[in-house]
């Protein structure tokens, strides 16, 4: 049983709510320019000191995405001191990004030295051992992108590290780690799936956001 769209029409939607949703999305993803335009257009209240933070977060995110881990670390020391000491996994991920950069630019000496001084200390804990071995394996290949460990040098991996970084920073600042619109979508999907499971076992497809957006 699918929900009759006509029922939805009767639910009132508050403009202010919508503005807040959009704003939170822009703030979450550090789209400062867009945010400023949006505020100018709609007259929504600008979030207090978020602007400065957003700018910083944006820079950290992009450093990580580019693989410039050392820069990211430096900025984090400034912005969120002590976070990396507490979050060792994150620290390891960032350092490994730098290692990957060195290996990809064929600076083997440096890579080796960096690995020895910065990465091997993590090896004392069992849970880092396997990850460490995977990264060290990159040293063996002249073309790491073509090795069995190619996923470690990919953009997807950097994206993944950058995303974890963002969530950690937001959590540290007591901000939600998912934007409101993301949470709304997640909730709607779950609710729809539950409904379709309960009422129609036969022939009903699971809820597809894509189809819903098109309809």
């Amino acid at each position: 049983m699918d929900i009759d769209p006509r029922i939805c029409v009767n639910v009132a939607v508050n403009d202010e709510d919508v503005h807040n949703i959009v704003l939170s999305y822009l703030v979450h993803n550090c789209f400062t320019g867009t945010m400023e335009s949006f505020i100018a257009c709609t007259g929504v209240k600008q979030p207090a000191d978020h602007l400065v933070d957003m700018e910083k977060r944006k820079r950290i995110f992009h450093s990580a995405l580019d693989g410039n881990a050392l820069k990211a670390i430096e900025l984090m020391e400034e912005f969120t001191p002590g976070l990396l000491e507490k979050n060792k996994d994150l620290h390891f991920d960032l350092l490994s990004l730098h290692f990957v950069r060195l290996v990809c630019s064929r600076r083997c000496n440096e890579a080796l030295g960096f690995a020895r001084t910065k990465l091997t200390p993590f090896g004392k804990e069992q849970r880092y051992v396997e990850k460490l071995e995977d990264f060290m394996a990159l040293l063996a290949y002249e073309e790491p992108e073509k090795s069995p460990m190619f996923h470690l040098v990919s953009l997807e991996y950097r994206q993944h590290v950058a995303d974890s970084l963002m969530r950690a920073i937001l959590e540290h600042a007591n901000l939600p780690s998912y934007s409101i619109v993301e949470r709304l979508i997640q909730q709607a999907t779950v609710v729809r799936q539950c409904l379709s499971q309960e009422f129609g076992k036969d022939g009903h497809q699971p809820f597809s956001l894509k189809d819903f957006l098109k309809s």
Binding site: T120, A137, A140, Y141
Partner: protein, 580 residues
């Protein structure tokens, strides 16, 4: 002999100095691969030198191969000169010149050259070339690391080893090693196989990688001889004693004198037919039971003499079955369709009587933990009791018929009983699963091997069938020759590593077969009545006991006189009482 350029016998063999394992920088002395008058043949590939010539009566031994492994044996033994001489005189080189060069390069640590040489050997399989190259370059890598040449090692790893595309996991391990050479930093344990090894060991490994036609495996001749000795030992039908050394000069063959065949003692304490007897697991006691309702525990003294220890009376019916506890401290005895009694071996005291009111018990067995017992009942069920007599479980149905044999499998999880006339059930008493052995004739009795992995079934058609019951049930062998038509006649396993099968017989003889070949090797006359049961001492392969309707028990042993004449360890005092 013209053409020889050296005064010494030419040495085509690679020389390996004995201190080589310590330092790699001094390469061992190398003599140029020598020329000899047969230098032409050196250049020719091995195939075209009358490779088909054979030696030996059977025509299966190729001369070239034989000479090559003899030469390898000579070198292994350290007879360099003789080895070289053989190569020269026979015109058959142990290894081709290319291979010799290769081996020398390995010993000298000329890695790049040796990798190049491998490609020249003419191996058909590309993969082998890669695997061998990997192993060689790995050694190079380790030696560089050992010499603190880290960047060179890294370069080797990246440009030479990685492109081979084999042993990816190992490659990654080597990578980790560069970063932390001590290895303890990474996983906290120092791994033996990651440490450097000697060039000699490398050569040995290469010999196993490359086909044996290219490089003769180390000590091949000795291996062949060892195989022959193993086969001789297995084929020895009377092999029943631990042989200290086997000679290469004659085929190994024990004589019959290692199998118990002389009556050493006749025990006459029972006043009626002796139906059952069994040695304890440690071979220190023998228990016998008779239709006179008596059970006797005998002690096996150190000198091999058997003496009476306890007379256990109490049963009102003939006792047809005895079971020793796993630790031999206790004994279960079963009167025919009567009760089961538990006795203490040391004191002879009856500790408990197990009964089922209105019913009789027909057999008994110990659980492997020695704390519970199983009994078959006349109503065809099987009961399990704890030692105090509390009934723990009872399995009804067609579980056990009148045959008084009950066994437990090697894993302690299956009860073995005769559930139908022609069927044995292996009943998993915890899992409730069941396997069956189906025969074509009525089953008379069965016996389990010491490891409980084999079952010997005695059938009404005068055959003994050997079944393997470990895992799937398979018929392995059959034995015939003995006589059995009216009575219950029992058989057993015995001898060194249970290599023999023994059985009683209605013709008053004991029959002994060689287990693997199925051959009947001995029949022992002596009793004057049907032999009902035999038991071979598990701790002494030279002692066999038989129980007979003539009311006696005979203890059989080996012929003492012959033993001492052969200068072997004598079994003890010769007290043969003249019976043959």
């Amino acid at each position: 002999m013209g053409g020889v350029e050296h005064e010494d016998p030419p040495s085509k063999r690679v020389k390996v100095s004995s201190e080589e394992s310590e330092s790699f920088s001094n390469s061992s002395s190398l003599r140029e691969p020598a020329r000899c008058s047969l230098s032409d043949s050196m250049a020719r590939p091995l195939e075209s030198r009358g490779d088909d010539e054979v030696v030996g009566v059977k025509g299966v031994v190729k001369k070239v191969e034989l000479v090559r492994i003899i030469a390898e044996a000579l070198y292994s033994l350290g007879y360099e000169k003789t080895g070289a001489h053989l190569e020269e005189e026979s015109g058959i080189p142990l290894h081709s010149a290319v291979v010799n060069l290769f081996m020398q390069q390995i010993i000298d640590g000329k890695w790049d050259e040796s990798v190049a040489t491998i490609h020249k050997i003419g191996l058909m399989d590309e993969n082998i070339v890669k695997l061998a190259s990997f192993v060689i370059l790995e050694q190079k890598f380790f030696e560089l690391l050992d010499g603190e040449k880290v960047m060179d090692a890294l370069k080797t790893l990246r440009t030479e080893i990685a492109p081979l595309g084999v042993h990816t996991n190992r490659l990654h391990e080597l990578s980790s090693l560069i970063v932390s050479p001590s290895q303890t930093a990474i996983d906290g344990t120092s791994d033996q196989r990651l440490r450097i090894r000697s060039r000699k060991k490398l050569l040995e490994e290469l010999k196993t990688l490359l086909p044996s036609t290219v490089m003769i495996p180390e000590k091949r001749l000795v291996r062949l001889v060892e195989q022959a000795l193993d086969l001789q030992r297995d084929a020895c039908r009377f092999h029943n004693s631990l042989v200290e050394e086997m000679s290469l000069l004659t085929d190994h063959q024990c004589g019959r004198d290692h199998i118990p065949s002389q009556t050493l003692q006749i025990l006459e304490e029972h006043s009626n037919e002796v139906w059952f007897l069994q040695f304890s697991h440690n071979g220190e006691y023998l228990a016998s039971s008779s239709s006179d309702c008596l059970v006797i525990i005998w002690e096996v003294k150190v000198d091999g003499r058997i003496s009476l220890k306890h007379r256990l009376s109490g049963h009102q019916k003939p006792v047809s079955y005895i079971s020793w506890s796993p630790d031999d401290h206790q004994l279960l005895t079963c009167g025919v369709e009567e009760a089961v009694r538990r006795w203490d071996t040391a004191s002879g005291e009856c500790l408990h009587i197990y009964e089922k009111s209105g019913l009789g018990l027909i057999n008994c067995a110990w659980a492997p933990d020695g704390r519970r017992i199983f009994c078959g009942v006349t109503d065809k069920s099987i009961c399990m009791w704890d030692l105090e007599g509390k009934e723990v479980e009872c399995w009804k149905g067609q579980k056990s018929i009148r045959i008084s044999d009950l066994g437990i499998s090697s894993d302690g999880k299956q009860l073995i009983t005769v559930c139908k006339e022609t069927m044995i059930s292996l009943f998993g008493w915890e899992s409730n699963s069941e396997k069956f052995i189906e025969e074509d004739h009525t089953i008379i009795s069965f016996a389990l091997s010491k490891d409980n992995r084999f079952l010997l079934v005695s059938l009404s058609n005068q055959e003994l069938h050997l079944w393997s019951i470990d895992g799937s049930v398979i018929l392995v062998a059959k034995y015939r020759g003995h006589k059995r038509s009216r009575l219950v006649v029992r058989s057993c396993f015995g001898g060194l590593e249970q290599a023999f099968i023994a059985s009683g017989s209605e013709d008053s003889q004991v029959y002994i077969w060689h287990r693997v070949s199925g051959e009947l090797i001995l029949t022992l006359p002596g009793h004057s009545g049907a032999v009902n049961c035999v038991s071979w001492n598990p701790a002494n392969p030279h002692m066999l006991a038989s129980a007979s309707d003539d009311r006696t028990i005979r203890i059989w042993g080996i012929n003492q006189v012959n033993m001492t004449q052969n200068g072997r360890h004598s079994n003890g005092v010769c007290y043969c009482n003249g019976a043959t």
